[in-house]
Symmetry: C2
Subunit: 192 residues, 2 copies
């Protein structure tokens, strides 16, 4: 089952994420997060499972970031945001937890993290357990049978993730519903 009709199975590293995917191109896909740091926090990845941006072809690189631009514009609109954090942890020593290239896109609004310490608290959240996409999917029992990659040990930030213990991973139904909504919204976005 997928938000996208007729979609073939899509893996994010070792995880089967087809129901969470809301947009695909021949080379790229975009998926909702199990534990979004802020509303509309999504990921964009190449279809080919490679760990580093330098492993991508120029065509794959262009398609990835054109998709980041288009998806970013969409989530900014849908979630009523005014800015975006775009971040790639490109390799293990940069904090990458799933060895499959992925760009985080996080819609930002004025004062949206004042309760957590201010605008830049986003990075503590991205670094902490909130942003650990590998652990989140693993904890949720996502299918790892594809065995497409080894999970890596991620170093923890020296700062605790704000409000982490109070957040629950979302259920499959909630993610699927969001993916279906975002798939419809992507259809409204101009191609360029």
């Amino acid at each position: 089952m997928s938000a996208l009709k007729g979609a073939t199975p899509i893996h994010f590293g070792p995880f089967l994420v087809t129901p969470q995917v809301f947009h695909t191109t021949p080379l790229t896909f975009a998926l909702v997060n199990l534990k979004p740091i802020l509303p509309g926090h999504v990921l964009v990845s190449p279809r080919r499972i490679v760990p580093r941006v330098a492993d991508l072809s120029p065509t794959e690189t262009s398609d990835l970031f054109l998709t980041v631009r288009r998806v970013g514009r969409m989530v900014e609109r849908v979630y009523g945001a005014a800015s975006l954090n775009i971040a790639v942890q490109d390799g293990e020593h940069a904090g990458q937890s799933v060895p499959h290239v992925h760009a985080h896109i996080i819609p930002r609004r004025a004062a949206d993290l004042d309760h957590a310490g201010g605008t830049d608290a986003i990075y503590d959240l991205l670094d902490g357990a909130e942003g650990d996409v590998a652990r989140a999917w693993r904890d949720a029992g996502a299918d790892t049978s594809a065995d497409k990659g080894e999970e890596r040990v991620q170093r923890r930030s020296r700062f605790p993730a704000v409000d982490n213990e109070g957040r629950k991973p979302r259920g499959e139904q909630e993610m699927r519903a969001e993916a279906e909504m975002l798939a419809r919204e992507m259809e409204k976005e101009p191609v360029d």
Copy 2:
């Protein structure tokens, strides 16, 4: 004077940065930093001064991120790194301090920030005064006569920048020498 022969003046937001530029394409340029967070921390920007990724054309977007990929590969090699942090603060509410699109590229090595708290301390440095490119250029008395944009107030991270007081802005000569070295190294990088 520039690391690039025959270069026309290049502005990063309101700042004239021609001597710090080590690579250009018709649509994109790359420059060394006044106060790099780690060795090889560089910025990549579109030639056209616009604040948001969504303001770029698809061609500009592709060229920007193909340049990020190529420059990233180069700095990773030259600075003996094994990973890269790639980050765009896309808009004021995402922490952007100069209203001109720019991607930070930061080469990472194993244990390179153990003294500062671990791998993810990079974000505290990026958020703190270390990463405030507007303030760094302003403090250095960079030419702002171009008046191409208003500087914005950047909110400070709730965490102090590690070792900030001990770091000095680099001199023009040091930056120019690094830009010249990196310009030569870019010539060794395959185009694709």
